[in-house]
Symmetry: D2
Subunit: 144 residues, 4 copies
């Protein structure tokens, strides 16, 4: 039973900058790609239509700490953990490793919102059909 | 009377890659930024609401030829010219110079479309209020 | 015997723009990612050290034609073919499909260069250890 | 006497995503662009050669809090403040406003490093010719 969601990502050329290493802002894109892949494993999408509403997850906060530079064609091992689930928001933690060494650690706090085109974005309580899936994922995490 | 629209752009760090120069795909973003700035000088937006429809300009083709590498903090002089205006499409040409030397030349062909959320994108004849502005710009170009 | 190199790519959130579809410039990044993945299958890297020189492949030209919009979480089937190999350059063609429908077709022409830090970039004849691998790949292509 | 460095940035199309607003990771690129523009006003570059060494500023931490969504062609007012200067590092704070309303606030902590090609990156004490310029900027800040 996995205690966290795990995936990998190869560093692409377009992730690098003139310093020859991955540009720091790309780690936020890596976090998001991992989050979305995690949602797909739950059979959900991070941006989905439900009862005529589009449910999506705008970001409240994002942060990252960088330990080591990462290079073109390095493979990143990425671990996602849900650190906290409140009524309307989720907090993820992401750990990045390369060859067994920690290279970065980040966090995203996201809000469950209705994001219909042409309407003002508004936060809602996380719907049960999502919450149930996440609770189960957290339960599996705690159990291990 | 200007024969073409002219602007400048400073090369940012995030435009560069591991080779230490501007990543080739960034030139397409530079072209688009120039196109949009040009539209603003006409008092228009490239993505605007008109009579309950959203008019936007999906790309049909894009190409670029690269002559010289460009580096961080270089200033690019960018010239936009409308090469062709047909019923439903426009063809732009972009010339990029740095310190008087040609560094790249690109083209975008774009289609005038109604892009309402939830509807299929469909091409339309370029509306008069846009066409008139562009014709005037081309006339000015031809006159010089 | 495969007549071309084939791979897939899932459309990520950060590939999309306000029109709700993949931003046109991202296709050039997809082409490059495919090119690099192809090189790895040859046991090579697109940016490698050999006899104290860094051999890399600056772009001479890039183009793309767009047939249909592509959306978040769509899977792209990407086929790469070497259209031409001359003494110092290569021309790739890329075909993009989604659910069996052609969505885009692009081309990159790249030059074999020595790109040592601090030196001027200079084109060279494609070295034999690369050329041999490519010739074999083209032979396989032609044979099918 | 300005208490902080101030600049503006127009939101470009390529900054937006399918939600129709600026992608959260782009704010980190906006911070970096502001940082680099600030350095240029000091007569310096964030990546410069000095006595045969390349001095650059890898990121230690980055964070951002998001208050309101920002749209295509919105103008961002960006304020940079140096919150802390220690021996080898700097902490910047960035405030983003649109039409007088706070839309985001971020921070970057960066390390002064020698980043020569082919060598391991190593942190150094901030050299005097840089430190003097920054101290003066902070003094001006404190005085207001």
């Amino acid at each position: 039973m996995p205690s966290e969601f795990r995936t990998q990502r190869l560093v692409e050329w377009a992730d690098t900058d003139k310093a020859g290493i991955v540009h720091f802002a790309r780690f936020f894109v890596f976090m998001e790609q991992t989050e979305h892949e995690f949602w797909r494993t739950l059979g959900l999408s991070v941006h989905m239509k439900r009862d005529e509403n589009i449910i999506s997850w705008p970001r409240l906060t994002a942060d990252c700490e960088y330990f080591r530079p990462v290079s073109f064609e390095d493979t990143l091992d990425i671990h996602l953990k849900i650190e906290k689930q409140s009524g309307k928001s989720l907090s993820y933690r992401f750990n990045f490793h390369h060859n067994g060494e920690a290279v970065a650690e980040g966090r995203l706090k996201v809000a469950c919102c209705i994001c219909n085109p042409g309407e003002k974005i508004r936060a809602i309580a996380i719907p049960d059909f999502i919450s149930d899936q996440l609770t189960q994922q957290i339960a599996e995490t705690t159990a291990t």
